[in-house]
């Protein structure tokens, strides 16, 4: 199958799953109209339709579409993250630089495929230079906490998220025209891991993993979700340069990192006293609520793919 045929088959399969989900949600809403779980479920499914449509549109446009989509996602995520930080007036210029210089620059570097710089821009250059901007304004109250929070925001919302479109820049022999499918693999595996952990948790969940952190994360949900999402990843080996076994291992790594991402970002939310990062996506919360697993999975997946599968 050619790249475009594979893409069509993939999106056909996703559409079929979404139609099934919508129908089930509709049937459930007829029987349990008042249940908040069902209402939330249907809101989530609707949001999934929109997200799949947007990603499909970006794929249809090509590399520029995908980079733009994730740049916008990074913008929304960074905005949600920095809203919860405790920055002061002295950080104003540094924050403006974060939004209007660092974010566009990172995505520009990915578009020109300059790996040597986009892989270290934020962890090294921005890490060192942005605190100088804040320091020069002279406000030293809570200084370390402020610069640390801004760096965390840029790393999570910009650096990590940007490694999803960065997959398009990897020179993988024999796979050159199908790299969009690698992005699809990552997103599908990590998001179905989220959904499957939720489903397994609702069905079998009993022992909580971190009650003070996230009351809904259970051992049963985690084990069932990660296992089934890993199987799904293995089954999707044909859209990747991996063999079925390799795809399973990659999917396992993605799912474990995704779970860690959910845990850490939940811890941050708890610290800041909020339940959701924002209210942009109905039923899900904010952009970061949707991206928290992707943020931890993307750079590792990128690095492993780059290390083992490129020239």
């Amino acid at each position: 199958m050619s790249a475009s045929q594979q893409t069509l088959v993939l999106f056909g399969g996703i559409t079929a799953i979404l139609v099934t989900a919508s129908l089930s949600g509709f049937v459930l809403s007829l029987r349990f109209a008042e249940s908040p779980v069902v209402v939330n479920l249907n809101a989530r499914i609707k949001a999934w339709w929109v997200m799949v449509a947007l990603i499909g549109l970006a794929f249809a446009v090509g590399k520029a579409g995908v980079i733009t989509l994730f740049a916008v996602a990074s913008f929304a995520a960074l905005r949600e993250f920095l809203t919860l930080t405790r920055t002061r007036r002295g950080d104003h210029l540094a924050l403006a630089a974060a939004f209007f210089v660092v974010l566009p620059l990172q995505y520009y570097l990915i578009s020109i495929e300059w790996y040597g710089l986009y892989s270290i821009l934020i962890p090294v250059y921005v890490f060192l230079l942005l605190p100088v901007v804040a320091a020069l304004r002279g406000d030293t109250a809570q200084f370390m906490r402020r610069i640390a929070e801004v760096q965390w925001g840029l790393m999570s919302s910009v650096y990590c998220v940007s490694h999803v479109p960065a997959l398009l820049t990897l020179p993988i022999p024999g796979f050159a025209d199908r790299k969009l499918l690698l992005i699809a693999f990552l997103i599908l595996v990590v998001q179905s891991s989220d959904v499957l952990q939720y489903v397994w948790g609702k069905l079998l969940g009993r022992h909580q993993i971190a009650p003070s952190l996230s009351p809904s994360k259970t051992v049963e949900g985690f084990a069932g979700g990660v296992a089934s999402a890993t199987l799904l990843g293995a089954a999707l080996w044909w859209i990747t340069p991996f063999s079925p076994w390799q795809a399973a291992i990659m999917a396992l790594v993605i799912n474990l990192m995704g779970f860690c991402g959910g845990l850490v970002m939940s811890a941050i939310k708890r610290d800041r006293g909020v339940k959701d990062w924002g209210q942009m996506i109905e039923g899900h919360g904010g952009m970061l609520d949707r991206l928290d697993s992707v943020i931890f999975a993307a750079p590792i997946f990128f690095h492993l793919t780059r290390y083992w599968w490129t020239v």
């Binding site: 960074l78 905005r79 403006a96 939004f99 209007f100 006293g273 924002g278």
Partner: protein, 210 residues
């Protein structure tokens, strides 16, 4: 025509920048005459309230703004008078020709709702809310049928603090509280404290060590 487009453009820009959402906690967006009184920290304050109001209410809601700022220069005059249809009052008691309260009462009598800032000026101190001036009490006493709705604008002081030029994209919320009114025989002082407390009650809790 240009003013209308400009107004639409400003609200779109405000939405993209701040993702602003309106939370109608204490009342609903009804078509009745109101004075929305809010905390003042930035020139963008009334833009956010305006953006969050339904279009029908937006058309008859006028912000109260300082004439000494918005009459200076053609662009500001265009924005203040044409785009936002602001009620401009002169803040300087020595130079002004008319009592600002009279100007506001005239605007109310023509059917407009107002967006009003009882602090009197932009708050640049560390305090959450400055003490209220007497304007709100005087307006409420003169026109008791107008509903007074407290509105808390959150986070805008971080988006564009006084003296900065680049606005930061940060999430802002606009919270509408339950209406307050002057109790029979209530004096200015107690009413000012009560209305100030009602507005402060809408603000999110502050944590220790801030």
């Amino acid at each position: 025509m240009i003013a209308r487009l400009f107004a639409i453009g400003v609200t779109i820009f405000a939405r993209i920048l701040t993702g602003v959402r309106g939370e109608w906690r204490g009342c609903l967006p009804e078509a009745r005459q109101r004075i929305y009184f809010a905390n003042h920290s930035s020139h963008g304050d009334f833009v956010l309230i305006w953006t969050v109001l339904p279009a029908a209410l937006r058309r008859c809601t006028r912000p109260v703004a300082a004439a000494d700022y918005w009459r200076r220069g053609r662009v500001r005059r265009f924005i203040g008078e044409q785009v936002f249809d602001a009620v401009l009052i002169d803040r300087d008691p020595t130079s002004r020709e008319a009592d600002p309260i009279e100007i506001l009462l005239a605007a109310l009598d023509r059917g407009a709702s107002l967006i009003f800032f009882p602090e009197g000026t932009r708050n640049t101190t560390g305090q959450r809310l400055l003490p209220f001036r007497s304007g709100l009490y005087r307006l409420a006493s003169a026109r008791p049928q107008v509903e007074l709705v407290p509105v808390w604008i959150d986070n805008l002081n971080r988006v564009l603090p006084k003296g900065e030029f680049i606005p930061l994209p940060l999430l802002c919320t606009v919270t509408f509280g339950a209406p307050v009114s002057v109790a029979p025989g209530e004096e200015s002082g107690p009413f000012r404290e009560r209305s100030r407390a009602a507005l402060l009650a809408l603000a999110p809790a502050v944590e220790d060590g801030e």
